[in-house]
Amino acid sequence: MDEITKLVRDYVIREYLEEGDEREITETTPLISGGIVDSFSMVSLKRFLEKKCNIQISDACATPDAFDTVQKIVGLVHKFQKAQPVAV
């Protein structure tokens, strides 16, 4: 598991699972359509990624579908990391 995948997965578990919730979160577990993350709480995930990965995710890309699995979220992070201008 690469670093970003681990970062995202750990955050999802810490932020969204209630104590005693033993559901396993894999890279392909449906988060939003599976009812683990509601679209209302999704904003904290977006903000976390932006801060930790130093990126800006445009609102148009921050759709429930784009955030539906750890795998998709990691893909999104990679996409925006590439799009980021190199700091000088």
């Binding site: 969204y16 209630e18 104590e19 599976g34 009812g35 509601d38 209302f40 709480s41 904003v43 903000r47």
Partner: protein, 415 residues
């Protein structure tokens, strides 16, 4: 007219999708006033059936109370039927001011502003009072109208796990760089019937300089020793910065809502809240009825006491019968079934036995958390509840759920 076939087909396909997902809602027509016994036409066109109503928000049994009806009649005669105006043009009568003052006294706040509904109060409050420099931190189970209100506001949004004070504290710490923090919660949560830990919330708010927003729609009139609400129950009267509540449940059940709290926040709503500014004034007949409701419930706590007794009695009956219920102290008692289809079938069978209750399932409650939500009322007599429990037992037996705990019910649901 340009409702072309393609448009019609598109919407029909969407409606079919809702049906296929088992999420289609059908109306049930009630041919009587709202009460513990009602006459229901369901499905549409079928013979009218008398049944016990155990799913209304008529907590205090005042929706069809003769004194409330008489006061509403008198209000109709003396102040007319409608205002044909928003409040700030020519829609404010003396009785609107009087009701706002009575609500302020009742809720123990500084000022109050009426809204067409509590949905409107919640939709308008945040945008009127907060902006980009602020953050809103809401319990994850707050009512949909609060979610909508937060979406309309430019302040940063965040959430904390339901009633998890450790998580809330983390969030408050995270947002210390904001100009202001607002903690947002329901008093009694409508789906689970549990109460916010308002005393702890107030403590955290004081520690981290945060304001507290409370939607007490499912508490105003009956929670707390004299029915002031969750803040009375938790011993924090006067410490909540904003309370929104509805006149559409315990407080007469007609319609209308309010924002009540710190003077300046209420004033900001009077100046800026769009549903207040751009929607019609609450009708005089409702204002007159609500004034009578407040008079009745401040004169005696008899109704809330009876409601409390009913809720306790009903919880005991369900537990003795072997149902899995959500523990709590409120008159909202969810009977857990976990499976959406089972909840629907269960409600249908209850109706056949003369008990009107509704199954709730995703997306109204989380997946795998389907239930029958029962709600008590001061209009219930013991014999109503004794009748209802027999129906519950019969239907419970038919579906083989009596005596099963959460694990067994989940296994049975194939989860």
């Amino acid at each position: 007219m340009a409702f072309i076939t393609a448009f019609r087909n598109r919407y029909q396909a969407e409606i079919d999708g809702i049906k296929a997902a088992g999420l289609f809602k059908e109306e049930r027509y009630i041919h009587s006033p709202q009460w513990s016994e009602i006459e229901v036409e369901f499905p549409a066109g079928s013979k009218i059936k008398k049944c016990i109503n155990i799913c209304a928000n008529n907590y205090l049994g005042l929706s069809s109370h003769p004194e409330v009806i008489a006061a509403a009649h008198a209000g109709l005669d003396s102040r007319g039927y409608g205002m044909s105006s928003v409040r700030f043009i020519c829609g404010t009568q003396d009785i609107h001011r009087e009701l706002e003052n009575r609500l302020t006294e009742f809720l123990g706040t500084e000022d109050t502003l009426l809204f067409p509904s509590c949905m409107d109060a919640n939709a308008g409050f945040f945008e009127a009072c907060l902006n980009e420099q602020d953050v809103m931190i809401a319990d994850r189970l707050v009512h949909a109208s609060i979610v909508d209100g937060m979406r309309l506001c430019k302040a940063m949004q965040d959430t904390f796990k339901h009633s998890d004070m450790g998580h809330l504290q983390e969030k408050l710490q995270e947002h210390m760089d904001k100009r202001s923090r607002m903690i947002i919660t329901d008093g009694v949560f409508s789906m689970d019937g549990d109460m916010a830990k308002l005393d702890e919330i107030v403590e955290l708010a004081e520690k981290y300089d945060a304001m507290v927003f409370l939607d007490d729609s499912h508490a105003s009139g009956f929670i707390g020793r004299t029915g002031r609400g969750t803040h009375e129950h938790c011993g924090v009267l006067g410490k909540i910065d904003v309370i929104t509540t509805t006149l559409g449940k315990a407080l007469g059940g007609a319609s209308g809502g309010c924002v009540s709290g710190r003077r300046e926040l209420v004033e900001m709503c009077r100046q800026r809240a769009r549903p207040f500014l751009f929607s019609n004034s609450v009708a005089p007949v409702i204002v007159a009825g609500a004034l009578k409701v407040l008079e009745l419930i401040t004169a005696t706590t008899e109704r809330r006491d009876k409601l409390e007794w009913n809720a306790q009695y009903w919880r005991g009956l369900l537990k003795d019968a072997g149902f899995d219920i959500k523990e709590g102290e409120s008159p909202i008692v969810p009977v857990m079934l976990y499976d959406a289809k089972l909840a629907q079938d269960f409600a249908r069978d209850l109706f056949a036995e003369g008990v009107y209750a509704i199954g709730f399932f995703f997306p109204v409650v989380p997946k795998g958390q389907a239930r029958i939500r029962t709600q008590l009322s001061a209009a219930h007599e013991k014999h109503h509840l004794d009748f209802a429990i027999e129906a519950f037992k019969k239907v419970g037996e038919k579906h083989g759920v009596l005596g099963l705990g959460k694990k067994e019910l989940l296994a049975r649901a194939g989860a």
